[in-house]
Amino acid sequence: MIFSFDLFSNAIVSGVLLGGFYCAVAVGITIAFGMLDIVNIAHPAFIMAGGFIAYYCNTYLGIDPVLACVIAAVPAYAIGRLLYRFYYLAFEKRGEESLQGLAFFFGILFIIEVALILTFGVDYRFVEAAYIGPTISVGFLAIPWRLLVPLIVGLAVIGGIMVFLSKTFIGKAILAVSQDPLALRLVGGNPVRVKEIAFGLSIATAIIAGALLIIIQPIEPSLGRDFIGRVFAIAVLGGMTSLPGTIVASMILGISESLTTTFFGPSWSPAVAFGLLLVALAVKPAGIFGR
């Protein structure tokens, strides 16, 4: 372990950049898990699906990966709405969502994963774009574009969702349903439709996060499992329902992973998210921004 100020500050910078990407990854789970109480453990599989959409569009159609996924987010939103409708009819309506719902998404996770394996194989895939190679140098700091683009897009996604939730009528309804679905029904709202829209949004953000992932690193179908812990760690650390909490938790995770990779080697970084999560669960289950 060699410690130097250069190394340390570079690690912090790439941690912040990585944190921006984690914002895009975790915003969907904060909506689904935190606000709607839907334990969508298949969220990382949707992220991988997004990654492979980006790969396909980039390799065969020559479209920019981020652009491809922003377009693909529209049908993904529709699929998310359908999926929620099915989930509602099959589980939530019958009051069996806790164990059965969890198992349902567990099954979805493997269906998506194996579908990707059967379509794309188990090889690592990557995309090509003008911003993947170059790096900006500021003094001794190196800022690679391939991390800067995900930071910008990630913050844009989470910022957009925050504006949407606080400014629009349907956004406020989503916040209302996250606090008390019954009260929303009493004032004449339809919590099922509101949740449907919110879940659609959650899936749409997963697809965009997939594009960011394949920009950062080559991907293969089962990589999504590495992110299950990360997204839930962020959601729990961030206090489940709070989007500013999600941003802070994403940054904490990004920085601690980056420091671990720099000073202990990449083989230790998977334990960081889970270690943080276990500590958070043991010490303060309500999270940093928990109510």
Partner: protein, 330 residues
């Protein structure tokens, strides 16, 4: 009247012992019958395939003790299993004890892990417990990858003799070991289900708050369930290195194991000891056939599709479905 009072404890005692003798006799006869049947195939492959299916029977049953009876979904099956696997590897590399002595030690280590895990997480809401167990599994995986003594990410070879006294080939021996573990798991699960602990766990599953108010010692019971479930999962992992002869973190923390151990009880039905057994026999056999005839990637797809299908159509598994059908006919 007096007669009834004096006789009833005795008859109850005999009924109790009968309740024990009967399943053990069934287990023993099923075991011997399957041994004879598999001998007809004349190859070791039959035993190795049967080992895999039985391993899933045992894993599904062990998982169900916590997941089915208490409703706490443990996503860390692979972690507990791998603790058994690597306890076995460490003993192989240091003390060279035979497998039979390794199994109780693996069970003890995994049981302790279960107890510790329980202390750390059981006060959490169900979903958080699930995520915490997943986290534990990944932390363990990372530790093993970085632990060069047990081979790290490169893995380690385990040598075993070709033959075994009394059993003929080593494959037959491994089959008998796993058969015993599976039977043992089933008997333990059945015992827990029928005892006051099983009733208490069922009460917790229905409504934890109400059960606690009614005086069920919930934390102690859940700790008992995590410990027993964890110990069994570890014990099942112990013979695994001898089965595959080359262990690396990917095979010990295998996704197939984690998924199947959860999917099989859910497909079979989690309310009784029979559900996981049915689910595991059905799915395990199907997967064996699919692996040989089609591909192993399709294995997980089969599990995924069946899981989603059964959860949607028959939320209480095959057992629950049959029970509903019977009630409808009445």
């Amino acid at each position: 009247m007096k007669e009834v009072i004096t006789q009833s404890p005795e008859s109850r005692a005999s009924a109790k012992s009968l309740r024990w003798v009967f399943p053990i006799v069934i287990c023993a006869s099923v075991g011997i019958a399957s041994l004879l049947l598999l001998d007809l195939a004349k190859t070791d492959y039959a035993f190795l395939a049967a080992y895999t299916v039985l391993q899933f029977v045992a894993l599904a049953t062990a998982w169900n003790i916590l997941g089915g009876y208490a409703g706490y979904v443990n996503f860390g099956v692979a972690g507990f299993f791998a603790v058994g696997v690597y306890t076995s590897v460490v003993i192989y590399k240091t003390l060279q004890w035979p497998l039979l002595f390794t199994i109780p030690l693996a069970a003890a280590v995994a049981g302790l892990l279960g107890l510790g895990m329980g202390y750390l997480t059981l006060r959490l809401r169900g979903v958080f417990f699930s995520i915490a167990t997943l986290a534990m599994s990944v932390v363990l995986n990372t530790l093993v990858v970085n632990w060069s003594f047990v081979g790290g990410s490169r893995g380690v070879y385990i040598l075993h003799p070709e033959t075994m006294p009394f059993f003929g080939t080593y494959a037959r021996y491994l089959f008998v070991v796993m058969l015993t573990l599976a039977m043992g798991s089933i008997l333990i699960a059945r015992f827990i289900e029928n005892s006051w602990i099983g009733n208490g766990l069922a009460a917790l599953k229905d409504d934890e708050m109400a059960a606690e108010c009614a005086g069920v010692p919930s934390l102690r019971m859940k700790l008992f369930a995590t410990t027993v479930s964890g110990a069994l999962l570890g014990a099942i992992g112990a013979p695994f290195p001898y089965f595959i002869t080359y262990v690396d973190p990917n095979s010990a923390f295998s996704l197939t194991i984690a998924v199947n151990a959860i999917a099989m009880p859910l497909i079979g039905g989690t309310a009784t000891w029979l559900g996981p057994v049915i689910g595991a026999l059905l799915l395990g056999t199907l997967q064996q056939i699919a692996t040989v005839t089609i591909s192993s990637a399709l294995n997980l797809l089969i599990v995924g599709v069946l899981l989603v299908f059964f959860i949607t159509v028959a939320p209480n598994g095959i057992i629950g479905f049959i029970r509903d059908m019977r009630e409808k006919r009445k």
